[in-house]
């Protein structure tokens, strides 16, 4: 790398340094037949022409936080968007926008972390792009990933299937990612062992739809990222025109995360997750779904947290509180926690 230990503008200039960056850092980490060709487009052989396609950009600050980093996040986030949409993730693309001055060692760690996450999720990085911008034009590193996957036959998820009496499940504790990011931010001087829950969810979701009885009973899935569980439930209530009730005492919560949230004045229902999804399941199959979730490492704290109320009445999300009261869960304003993913 010419003795430099930082990304230079020339690394994005399309010349020798760009080639070095790709050859020495990117290709070895992501190595696969499609990427190694370094063509202008990847050719993919999909098993079905019923596909899901998604894209997301990652601007998390800081780049490294307890439990994950931007590389892992960029892979898991897109894998999860495909998985909750009822698709089997197949391949993803990765666009890197790097601010000049980023340390190459950090870059290497992030790329390797993305590669490890991709292997864990069973996807490959089929295409990529690298750009370097002047100091101040970006903040260290932004990543865009797009993902493609094939639809799972017989798995039909969507707002229109949600009906009164359906049961709402989550695969584990809420708010871990958002609070881990906060703990890692400069200026917030508190130490904790809070870890981001960033993880690929396609594995646990597969265990649910592989059960032939359960598959038709899964009506809706959504990963509870920005805006947390509150945002997902409000979106469901609004889009499916139903009311929703959840129970405070049923919400899986990590005590350290709760303590940090209370200290900083956050409502964990509004705090982001990167390894949690809400599943809405037909009532008769809820217990089975819960058992299957709990048997997977990413679902050991899974819980039934509530149920879907009547349609067309009040499209509100309500919380039955621990002390026997009730309150509304609103769509979060969205300003509280910038750049968490």
């Amino acid at each position: 790398m010419g003795g430099n230990d930082k990304i230079l503008l020339a690394h994005g200039g399309g010349g020798r340094l760009t080639q070095q960056l790709i050859d020495e850092y990117i290709v070895p980490a992501f190595s696969n037949a499609s990427l190694n060709d370094l063509g202008d487009a990847a050719s993919l052989d999909l098993s079905s022409n019923k596909i899901c396609f998604t894209t997301d950009s990652y601007v998390v600050k800081p780049l490294f936080f307890a439990g994950a980093d931007i590389g892992k996040l960029a892979v898991c986030g897109t894998v999860n968007d495909l998985a909750v949409s009822g698709a089997k993730p197949f391949a993803i693309s990765m666009g890197l926008i790097i601010e000049e001055g980023l340390e190459l060692a950090a870059f290497k760690t992030i790329i390797e972390s993305a590669a490890t996450a991709a292997r864990a999720a069973g996807v490959f990085i089929a295409a990529g792009d690298t750009k370097v911008v002047e100091h101040g034009s970006a903040d260290k590193l932004f990543i865009n990933t797009s993902g493609i996957g094939t639809r799972i036959p017989g798995l039909d998820v969507g707002f229109s299937r949600i009906a009164q009496g359906d049961v709402i499940l989550i695969n584990g504790s809420i708010g871990d990612h958002g609070m881990a990011i906060l703990a890692g931010r400069e200026g917030l001087r508190f130490e904790s062992n809070i870890q981001s829950d960033c993880a690929p969810l396609n594995g646990i979701i597969q265990t649910l739809y592989e059960d032939d009885c359960l598959r038709p009973a899964i009506k809706f899935m959504r990963d509870a990222t920005r805006g947390g569980v509150a945002a997902v439930l409000n979106e469901i209530a609004r889009s499916a025109d139903v009311s929703i009730e959840i129970e405070e005492t049923k919400l899986p919560i990590n005590p350290a995360v709760l303590a940090a949230a209370e200290m900083l004045g956050f409502d964990l229902l509004n705090v982001a997750n990167e390894g949690k999804f809400i599943a809405i399941v037909q009532k008769e199959f809820a217990q089975k779904a819960l058992e299957i979730m709990r048997s997977h490492p990413l679902g050991k704290d899974a819980a039934i947290i509530g149920q879907v109320g009547p349609q067309g009445d009040e499209t509100i999300v309500e919380l039955a509180t621990a002390i026997g009261g009730r309150r509304i869960i609103q769509m979060p304003y969205g300003r509280e926690l910038p750049r968490i993913c």
């Binding site: 609004r238 499209t315 509100i316 309150r327």
Partner: protein
């Protein structure tokens, strides 16, 4: 826990069942307001027991004149404004710190010492710390000023809007506009000032004063305790927050407040001037007083048109009675400070209160 809840509700029912009118309990502190809403406590109370949100949210009670002064200072190139987060969104006729086109010189801090660090890192600018809060945040401001004085950090000063809680409670009782029968006294403030500080309210006005923590159970038991006092016609000061609140409070914190600050008449949104309710730096430290350093006047401009935050803060109306509530005034576009602050009554009603379907679908 269920047994404790059942017992508390029994005490409430006993006290309220024979009352000829409603029992109005004011929770002074904004954190209590939020906890009450977050835990859905209101719907569980007897029908004739009313909770009133009080003037205990520091952002909310800060008057418009102070906001204008901060905005004036923020317009200067040689000044950096260091402020706690909520303050940047408080609107005025001249915008807010957040909405100014060029707000690069506005820094959000989590502590007064962070503001002091910014001063050290920017020797060519003057850092003005927006010193807002009750007795809970005042000691931290006092320490920053004491440190600045000891280290001779001349480019640091504070614009004090620090206030004391008890004079406001007395002002509300003596104005007789709001019918207040008892107070749930603030938890954090009481840690500093001690529960004895409320003795004058019991002696002079015969109103129960119960200090509560912020856990829902502590609040419910605090309300139950007030009900017992009302039923027995025996108002007194009680603390349900034994773990951290003592009768005399935090003696060290009180001493540093006293060392650096002196009482002065203060302007409160919605209430007006309350005698000896504000804290200003003592003359000895006046070089760190931004109001004196920059010759700021103590004007009292009017609140935003149509905004009823003042009445909300005095317990005269509930937020939904304000015509702007959840229409033009909402967390995305707050008109008054009670919608801005996370501890504001309007924000709590908006976030957790049930509204009509039309409003939910906005």
């Amino acid at each position: 826990m269920l047994q404790r809840i059942w017992k508390a509700h029994n005490l409430m029912d006993l006290a309220c069942k024979d009352l000829p009118c409603s029992l109005n309990i004011m929770e002074v502190c904004g954190t209590h307001t939020v906890s009450i809403f977050r835990n859905g406590i209101r719907p569980t109370l007897p029908a004739n027991l009313r909770l009133l949100s009080g003037p205990g949210c520091p952002v909310c009670v800060t008057d418009q004149g102070y906001i204008e002064n901060v905005l004036t200072l923020a317009g200067r190139d040689d000044i950096i404004i260091a402020t706690y987060g909520d303050m940047i969104r408080v609107p005025s006729k001249n915008g807010s710190l957040e909405k100014r086109a060029d707000n690069q010189n506005v820094k959000i801090v989590l502590s007064s010492m962070e503001a002091l660090d910014i001063a050290k890192q920017n020797p060519s600018k003057t850092v003005v710390f927006v010193a807002v809060g009750f007795e809970t945040t005042t000691p931290a401001t006092a320490i920053a000023v004491r440190y600045a004085a000891a280290e001779n950090i001349k480019n640091f000063c504070i614009l004090s809007a620090h206030k004391t809680v008890v004079p406001a409670m007395e002002a509300l009782l003596s104005s007789e506009k709001a019918k207040i029968d008892a107070f749930i006294c603030p938890g954090h403030v009481s840690v500093i000032i001690g529960s004895d500080a409320y003795n004058p309210i019991v002696t002079k006005y015969k109103k129960p004063c119960v200090v509560a923590g912020f856990e829902p159970m502590q609040i419910i038991e605090g309300i139950a305790q007030i009900c017992s006092q009302v039923a027995a016609h025996a108002p007194k000061v009680e603390s349900m927050y034994h773990a951290v609140v003592t009768p005399q409070g935090n003696v060290k914190a009180k001493a540093i407040i006293d060392e650096m600050f002196e009482p002065a008449d203060g302007v409160w949104r919605g209430i007006g001037v309350i005698k000896n309710s504000a804290l200003v730096l003592r003359d000895k430290f006046s070089e760190f007083d931004a109001a004196k350093r920059f010759g700021l006047s103590d004007g009292h401009p009017e609140d935003m048109p149509g905004c009823h935050c003042g009445e909300v803060l005095c317990g005269l109306i509930d937020p939904p009675q304000c015509k702007l509530f959840a229409t033009t005034c909402n967390p995305d576009n707050p008109i008054g400070p009670c919608m801005v602050s996370s501890e504001g009554a309007c924000s709590a009603w908006f976030k957790y209160g049930r509204r009509k379907k039309r409003e939910n679908k906005q």
